[in-house]
């Protein structure tokens, strides 16, 4: 579908129109902290602070999701029953929950979108693995309106993992900020439906505006510092598994789990029952591989008993096991885990050190990475790119 133009002043009206049919979620600043929150009329969307503290994954993959309610009750004794049949007994009544209200997330960044794309593999039945109805229902009901990043942060490294600050991959519509408003590119059917519904709020862009948008995209891609060369990382992680440097790198980690909870692509969860008297909920809630008891077995044995084991798992999972199993990385280069870690553990450094082939000097990655960045820019300029994993 043809691209459109949205005036900045029209943004509230545009969101208002979306809110008629769906819940609208967008980044807002509250007490100085930017977070994705449900939009309400009159609140100003925060697009200047790049990257909300947390990724928007909590709106699709809920932190706590009750998926079953159950209760114990007495089964009715059939009329005229005798003997054993007449003995009352208790049954369990099960009531599955699966709500997926329509929602639109506006203002998320290409790396946030890519988090969903990567996570889709694990919940979406890729390779014949489990298809998760809860996640997929929500994902299906969610429309993603991404915004090109204007000022990438120093911790951003999307271009090193095959992304780019204006990537269309997974987004339904891509907005790019230009003079006086946004250059709007509907990408999918869902995106087109949104653009159509917006009606007169969207106008046809001029050629200058199209050029301006393209320039803005190119400019932002060059602002992302190359972090490492992805080539060979998977094999190096495999070869370095017993390397002593893992322990050195993990020293200042406190094994908390902040990195995983702010990450757009970490997806681990645990399942619990909570029962009060005769009624209970079965819910799943986020869990993470840094939780010291995450892998603890009933016997008391814990295969990842040490901080270093847990630390190694997170990075190896993202760049080695997950790609092996799902043919996709599990990191979109948003840099949230770096900026929010209490001790600023730097995933780029970890990959530079542990993802470098044993004999090669660790620093060589950066040079080749600039080539990767250039390729990403080229891909961004080519608006027809379907956004396949590099």
């Amino acid at each position: 579908m043809a691209s459109k133009y949205l005036k900045s002043e029209q943004l509230p009206a545009f969101l208002e129109s979306l809110a008629k049919n769906a819940r609208v979620v967008a980044p807002f600043k509250r007490d100085g902290v930017t977070q994705y929150e449900p939009w309400q009329s009159g609140k100003d969307v925060e697009l200047d602070v790049l990257l909300a503290k947390q990724s928007p994954k909590e709106y699709v993959f809920l932190q706590t999701e009750t998926y079953l309610k159950f209760g114990y009750e007495m089964a009715p004794v059939p009329e005229g029953a005798e003997g054993e049949d007449a003995v009352p007994y208790e049954t369990v009544k099960v009531d599955p929950q699966n709500e997926a209200p329509k929602q639109v997330i506006f203002g998320l960044r290409p790396c946030d979108v890519r988090g969903f794309v990567q996570m889709d593999q694990v919940f979406g039945g890729y390779g014949g693995f489990y298809f998760d109805p809860l996640y997929n229902a929500r994902r299906e009901a969610t429309t993603l309106l991404a915004v090109t990043c204007r000022e990438p942060r120093s911790t951003c490294f999307c271009t090193s993992v095959g992304g780019c600050p204006s990537s269309r991959e997974g987004a339904d519509v891509l907005f790019t900020q230009i003079e006086g408003g946004f250059f709007v590119e509907p990408i999918t059917d869902k995106g087109e439906a949104i653009a159509e519904a917006a009606g007169a709020a969207l106008t046809d862009p001029t050629d200058t505006q199209a050029t301006e948008a393209n320039e803005a995209k190119l400019a932002s891609a060059t602002k992302v510092d190359p972090a490492f060369d992805l080539e060979g990382v998977r094999d190096a992680l495999h070869d370095n598994i017993a390397d002593k440097r893992w322990a050195d790198l993990a020293m200042r980690c406190v094994s908390c789990g902040t990195c995983t909870y702010v990450c757009p692509s970490c997806y681990c969860f645990s399942i619990n029952d909570s029962i009060v008297e005769t009624k209970g909920d079965r819910y799943r809630c986020w869990d993470n591989c840094f939780n010291p008891v995450y892998t603890e077995e009933t016997s008391g044995h814990n295969p990842r008993a040490k901080k270093m084991n847990r630390f190694r798992n997170r990075f190896s999972h993202k760049f080695w096991y997950y790609p092996d199993k799902y043919d996709s990385l599990l990191c979109s280069g948003c840099g949230r885990c770096i900026a929010n870690c209490p001790t600023r553990i730097d995933i780029r450094e970890v990959i530079r050190v542990m993802g470098a082939p044993k004999e090669a000097p660790a620093a060589s990655g950066a040079v080749a990475a600039s080539a990767a960045a250039a390729a990403a820019v080229a891909a961004a300029a080519d608006t027809t790119t379907e956004g396949k994993e590099a």
């Binding site: 100085g32 977070q35 706590t64 120093s154 939780n291 010291p292 600023r344």
Partner: protein, 323 residues
């Protein structure tokens, strides 16, 4: 010789003489606005250690139970005044082994609150310098530069710090800082007044709003130097589910209250939890109040005297609580 030079020298000597297996100090992170804990094993690398008002990490975290690697490592570390109180608290209860420690005390004249700075700029902070004592120069990614008075951007705890000089150390990095008159002045809890003046209903509504944003990442308890069962936490127990694993304001507040009670008498309000929280929950609101009440009840300040027992580990027949 600057404090930083002292730290480097102490670290290098301890490593060379093999008195410690590794030395923990601070070094620069991914840019000059971020200091991070540094673990030095090679004396030649001691010169990466730094000391400046961004060195906020309480390194005592890394010697609490089940943190050191290997478990019986001999560890050298730096402590500021407030950090040393958490160390003393651990020593009071025999929760760390004195003989495996080498402690360098760093007298401190205030630590910068990086989050206060972040809120002053819309662009990311990429550089922080200290052109002279008491001045902070901040540069952002967009190229904006501003010079500020350090006192205006310090952590809340620093303004009324009663113990700027470490209370326990083997060596001290340079001359001591000026101490307040502790006989004359009481601890200051004026930061709590505004909250305390609220009505019950408003307090509940406010707490609900604050704790709704907690993501249960556990950074607060993992960095807490005196939270020693951090890796076997009642808050993580699923069977029995003492604290619900659900994430919501009530559950989150309950979890924080558990942490608060478990460190009562040990927590000196070092602020490490506050600074670690990724969603900036003002955890000090609970801990400061707890310390205020403990002071009111017992005249006790946690982690001050080595030979003292924390107030909840002992009792006095003359206690006047209850009816």
């Amino acid at each position: 010789m600057s404090r930083q030079d002292h730290i480097r020298e102490f670290a290098a000597n301890a490593l060379t003489e093999k008195r410690v297996d590794y030395f923990i100090g601070w070094k620069q992170g991914y840019n000059s606005s971020e200091m991070i804990p540094a673990f030095v094993t090679d004396p030649a690398e001691a010169d990466q250690l730094v000391w400046n008002p961004l060195c906020h990490h309480n390194l005592v975290t890394f010697i609490k139970r089940n943190m050191p690697e290997p478990a019986d490592a001999k560890v050298g570390l730096c402590v500021k005044g407030c950090d040393s109180r958490t160390l003393v608290a651990l020593l009071q209860e025999g929760l760390v082994d004195k003989d495996r420690l080498y402690v360098v005390g760093v007298p401190c004249d205030g630590i910068v609150d990086r989050r206060k700075l972040e809120k002053m700029f819309s662009s990311e902070i990429t550089e922080i310098e200290f052109p002279e004592r008491g001045k902070v120069k901040v540069t952002t990614r967009a190229g904006e530069t501003k010079e500020l008075d350090q006192k205006d951007v310090e952590l809340i705890g620093c303004a009324h710090c009663r113990y700027p000089n470490p209370l326990y150390s083997d060596n001290t990095a340079g001359p001591l800082e000026k101490e307040p008159d502790r006989e004359e002045t009481k601890p200051d809890w004026s930061a709590l007044e505004q909250y305390e003046s609220l009505s019950d209903d408003v307090k509940q509504a406010l707490l609900e709003k604050i704790y709704a944003t907690c993501i249960r990442c556990f950074a607060c308890i993992h960095v807490c130097p005196v939270c020693v069962c951090w890796d076997k936490c009642v808050n993580r127990s699923r069977q029995p589910e003492l604290v619900s694993q659900k994430v919501g304001p009530k559950e989150n507040l309950l979890f924080q209250m558990v942490h608060m009670f478990h460190v009562a008498g040990r927590c000196p309000s070092c602020g490490a939890c506050d600074r670690a929280c990724p969603v900036e929950i003002p955890l000090g609101l609970l801990h400061a109040k707890m310390n205020k009440e403990i002071y009111d009840m017992f005249g006790f300040e946690p982690g001050v005297k080595l030979d003292e027992k924390p107030v909840f580990q002992v009792f006095d027949l003359k206690d006047q609580f209850g009816d």
